[in-house]
């Protein structure tokens, strides 16, 4: 297809490099230097997408990040969802398609919605999709809401990356202000980052034909870029968006064109001593009926397409404005061969200096656009002149409009800086600063190049010492520019039937704004949420201030009183890949392994994550074996023979110092300081609100040296808890804590044959029950490996916890398995461990201990020391219990039908009725020793209800169970002490 809208000469495109691209299945051509939008315009493509709600045809409106309409979905290697075609750099072979239309953008079935528009006003979704339930509508709305499809696969080649940087100056925006600031800072020797979102530096100078020092302004830009690119103290990131301004001058930058081609995008987190915001200004739309028709464009976009991309978006142009900025474009439009039919200016009086630019044109002052005709392309506009009250129809194919300029205060606002409304330029400008930042140039409300340079110089030289100021002495001479404006937030729309769009992306019309106000949503944040104006992809870059203005007009208040909505990051959409960097898949939260993990995997263990990212074996299934069969087999081994499990993830700490005993007495409920060296005790830790925090054992090594263990998943929080107490509550205590979780691994040998197995392994420790009783530890050698052996039991059987250094763990493990063969030893996974501890009624964090129970609830009165005046949690436990409120207490459950399991977590209700629960099932397992299902539950007043019946109320049935003591095996604990 012929590029019939391309100008023969001019522009910043390379006509020697022709690029082909695919749009909606057809091949077109553009040039190096084009964006997808400029190439599509050059090919005469008017309708790019369909609108969100009404499926109206939409074309290109802006020329950069402000464009609210030209969303496309990129395909193939570049696959990504919603992309503004004005932001997509044209590449050879680029493939894109329209969004929000079916079967095609030219004939869109969804456009039928516009005939129902009366029935889908603002708030329609909130009012409609709730009967009988929102979930009925959710899937359909989710499909509609996303616009483009998300890519199904990650990019085939390349990866994302993140970098951190610190710098003296971070300058955001490579327009005239940003470049001059960079030059001055760089010459002073400071470290400088220059970041700009455009494909090339220059900002507004890329599109405006201005001169600096009597030469084209872009020559000056090229000179600055050349100079700073040779300086090692400058990092220049072009085609990179500063999209988030966070606390303490941290700015997050998304770099899209990385010098290393294998990096798709790079995310920079830059902390700067000073952030210089030079983000320019964004042109505002005018709001008038049918202002969304393809061919209605922002005036600055027309100027950019003409002078930067050498594309003529139309032949016959009408301009609609309320300010001076469009007048300076006239000579470029005429040079491109565009017929300017009329300049419709809403102002009564226009400065004669400004009118000089339009000396040969027809300027219609005090007039507005009353309507736009045409569906897929403008064919005429209706002009209403207030001077003579006349209506005139002008045939045209392009309408360029300008509602004035909004300083891009987004980053300033994200930094928590405030903005205020400036009547002179009818826009919000930066007011108060909160962080170390400064706005210069157009984003500070200064639209005149000469003044921008003066302002920048004044600020930058003020930053430097006299000797460093000497380095910068250049004078910059430039053209005169003018800017004045009379605010026009919309034409008179009170009785207007045609749609006039405030927010083109979200199809928010004047009807919606009026409706929101009528229904009482007058706060700007409410209007935003009710109408969705200013949400979505473009975040209302061109339309938001008009909404604020319209509210002010309708409510009869000032714009400062209406205020702005919150500017949030990201400034422009950012890919998830860029945010996550290389942290994807298993690297996001890596698993923790023990030396036995590999052995477990080789033996076919089914692995679980068992708290704190520890990867542990759940069970070791054999061929053809079910889950339950495998677990039963492992339990049986422990109860009748011997089993071994890897207890390495257990949290372990060594405590040293004069006052460890006193400290342990404070953090545990029971008395630890009375222990003799070599002995230990099981204990509970509470928090000061009187609830169980963790459980474990404490052993005394010698006078001033102890070690404790914590549950695997809680070791970090126990460490935090202990360190915090020592830092703030008891700095007087001499206690030093070392985390030895990873320094000691352990294999726990458990079962009636455990002692025999240890003897077979060979040891210099006397294993006799009287010389090495329960709750003591011994140091010595097991199978010739130095070990600390501890007699604790989490299964209820005779157990030896053999602690060794990690380098010896696998050797020890393999020796145990080999020596245990004659006793039919089995490795035991966490599923069997769970069964064994439930049979014994031992508590488990996350099951019986859910952050609501105290030790009395679990029947552990013995653990609450009566001798100690104070320990953490004591006061609160007694305070809470003194109120006499009914407590849920731990009981055992025996289902009436022994073959019927109770789902864990299932609620218990009085008599199984549909009333408030009186407890819930904390665990239920198939007990190998009892040959039936057994459960544990927290039940109101459970301790006094043994022998009664409990009712588990499920969705479709009620399970009856007998309430018992919470112990189903060896109730007196003879076995574990054997």
């Amino acid at each position: 297809m012929k590029s019939h809208n391309r100008l023969k000469a001019g522009g910043r495109i390379d006509r020697s490099k022709r690029l082909s691209f695919n749009f909606n299945g057809k091949i077109y051509y553009g040039f190096e230097g084009d964006t997808l939008a400029s190439a599509m315009l050059a090919n005469g493509l008017n309708v790019i997408s369909r609108s969100f709600k009404y499926h109206r045809p939409r074309g290109i409106i802006g020329s950069g990040v402000e464009d609210p309409a030209s969303l496309v979905e990129l395909l193939d290697e570049e696959a990504s969802g919603n992309n503004l075609s004005t932001n997509v750099k044209l590449k050879e072979g680029l493939s894109a398609k329209s969004i929000n239309c079916w079967p095609s953008v030219d004939f869109d079935f969804g456009a039928i919605t516009q005939y129902f528009e009366k029935f889908i006003p603002a708030g329609f979704y909130y009012k409609t999709f709730k009967w009988p339930t929102w979930h009925l509508f959710e899937p359909l709305i989710r499909v509609a809401a996303g616009l483009a499809n998300a890519p199904k696969m990650p990019p085939k080649s390349g990866h994302f990356e993140s970098r951190n940087a610190h710098t003296d100056y971070l300058i955001i925006g490579a327009g005239p202000a940003g470049l001059l600031a960079t030059l001055i800072a760089a010459r002073s020797g400071a470290n400088v980052f220059l970041v700009d979102q455009n494909t090339e530096a220059g900002g507004s100078l890329l599109s405006l034909n201005l001169s600096i020092n009597k030469r084209p302004a872009m020559d000056w830009v090229d000179g600055v870029i050349k100079e700073i690119s040779a300086m090692s103290n400058v990092t220049h990131l072009q085609d990179s968006t500063a999209w988030a301004y966070r606390e303490h001058n941290l700015v997050v930058v998304n770099e899209r064109e990385v010098e290393n081609a294998s990096i798709i995008e790079r995310s920079w987190r830059i902390r700067a001593k000073k952030v210089i915001i030079a983000t320019g200004a964004i042109e505002r739309s005018l709001v008038f009926p049918n202002n969304d028709r393809p061919g209605v464009m922002l005036a600055s976009a027309v100027q950019t397409f003409v002078s930067r991309y050498a594309v003529k978006p139309g032949e016959n142009l009408v301009i609609f404005t309320n300010n001076d900025s469009v007048y300076s474009y006239i000579k470029d439009f005429k040079r491109a061969g565009i017929n300017i039919l009329a300049i419709v200016d809403s102002r009564k009086t226009i400065e004669s200096d400004v009118l000089d630019y339009a000396a040969d044109e027809r300027v219609i002052p005090y007039s507005i656009i009353k309507n736009v005709n045409g569906y897929k392309k403008v064919n005429s506009v209706v002009v209403e002149s207030f001077g003579d009250n006349g209506l005139e129809i002008i045939s045209c194919d392009l309408l360029a409009h300008s509602g004035g300029w909004n300083p891009a205060v987004h980053l300033h606002s994200q930094s928590r800086g405030t903005v205020s409304f400036d009547e002179k330029i009818a826009a919000f400008i930066p007011d108060q600063y909160v962080q170390s930042a400064i706005n210069i140039g157009a984003c500070n409300g200064n639209f005149n190049l000469r003044e921008i340079f003066d302002e920048t110089k004044l600020f930058m030289l003020g930053q430097l010492s006299a000797s460093k100021q000497m380095v910068y002495e250049e004078k910059l001479e430039c053209n005169k520019q003018m800017y004045s404006i009379e605010a026009l937030w919309s034409t008179d729309l009170l009785n207007e039937k045609n749609k006039a769009f405030f927010d083109i992306q979200n199809d928010v019309t004047h009807h919606d704004i009026q409706l929101a106000l009528r229904e009482g949503f007058s706060n700007i944040e409410h209007v935003k949420r009710y109408t969705t104006g200013g949400m979505g992809f473009d975040q209302g870059k061109t339309g938001n201030v008009n909404i604020i203005g319209a509210i002010a007009d309708l409510e009869g208040i000032g714009l400062n009183d209406v205020g702005t909505t919150t500017f949030r990051s990201p400034f422009t959409p950012i890919s998830f890949g860029s945010i996550s960097g290389v942290r994807e898949g298993a690297v996001v939260l890596p698993f923790r392994h023990t030396p036995v993990t590999k052995w477990n995997l080789e033996k076919g263990a089914f692995m679980y994550e068992a708290g704190a990212r520890w990867r542990r074996p759940g069970y070791f299934p054999r061929d053809g074996e079910s889950f339950q069969e495998a677990v039963n087999r492992e339990c049986h081994a422990v109860r009748t023979g011997v089993g071994v499990y890897d207890g390495s993830p257990l949290g372990k700490f060594e405590l040293k110092g004069e006052n460890v005993g006193e400290f342990l007495d404070l953090i545990y409920t029971n008395m630890m300081s009375s222990l003799l060296p070599g002995n230990g005790r099981y204990g509970l830790m509470l928090t000061d609100d009187g609830l169980i925090f963790d459980d474990g054992v404490a052993f005394r090594i010698d006078q001033h040296r102890w070690f404790i263990s914590t549950s695997s998943g809680h070791s970090d929080s126990v460490n935090q808890h202990m360190q915090k107490i020592l830092a703030f509550d008891r700095p007087d205590l001499d206690v030093k804590i070392t985390n030895i979780t990873n320094q000691w691994n352990n294999a726990t040998v458990c079962g009636p044959l455990a002692r025999k197995l240890l003897q077979k392994l060979g040891t210099n420790i006397d294993l006799g029950n009287s010389s090495f009783p329960f709750m003591t530890f011994r140091e010595g050698k097991i199978a010739n490996i130095p070990a600390r052996v501890i007699r604790v039991s989490f299964t209820g059987e005779l157990s030896f916890e053999i602690n060794v250094s990690p380098r010896n763990m696998l050797t020890l493990w393999e020796k145990i398995i080999k020596a245990g063969a004659e006793f039919d030893i089995l490795p035991v996974g966490s599923e069997a461990s769970h069964v064994l501890r439930v049979e014994k009624g031992f508590l488990s964090l996350g099951h019986e201990v859910d952050g609501t129970v105290d030790p009395y609830d679990l029947g552990m009165n013995w653990v609450m020391s009566k001798k100690k005046i104070d320990f953490i949690g004591k006061r609160s436990v007694h305070l809470r219990r003194s109120s006499g409120i009914v407590r849920r207490e731990l009981v055992g459950l025996l289902p009436t039908n022994p073959d019927e399991a109770i789902p864990e977590g299932a609620p218990l209700t009085p008599k199984g009725k549909k009333v408030a629960t009186e407890g819930f099932t904390t665990a239920c397992v198939w007990s190998v020793v009892n040959n039936r299902w057994v459960g544990l539950a927290l039940l109101e007043n459970g301790h006094s209800r043994h022998g009664e019946e409990a009712y588990v109320r499920l969705k479709n049935k009620i399970i009856k169970a007998e309430i018992t003591r919470p112990v189903f095996h060896d109730p007196d604990g003879k076995l574990l002490r054997s």
């Binding site: 909160v434 360190q723 305070l879």
Partner: protein, 85 residues
């Protein structure tokens, strides 16, 4: 992301720290405090808009607990702990 000054490690990113809550009243003597005093100690946590003293733990660093004063509106850190080495 805050830039927090650890007394040992100097300025480090917030991601290295664990927040330990605002500094409230000291733990009263549980044998003397009235019920009201004890409950207040547990539940009345400072939550101002503006400067607040708060605890941070350099969990992914040196392991030091320390106190800073931070403005909850601006995030400005008004007081940092005394440097240690």
């Amino acid at each position: 992301m805050l830039l927090i000054k650890c007394p040992f490690c100097k300025n480090r990113n917030e991601t290295e720290f664990v927040y330990g809550g605002p500094v409230g009243a000291n733990r009263p003597d549980p044998t003397r405090a009235s019920d009201e005093e004890w409950v207040d100690f547990l539940t009345m946590v400072p939550n101002p808009t503006g400067p607040v003293h708060e605890r941070w733990w350099h969990a992914r660093g040196c392991g030091e607990w320390f106190i800073i004063c931070r403005d909850t509106v601006t995030h400005e850190i008004l007081e940092t702990p005394i440097e240690k080495s």
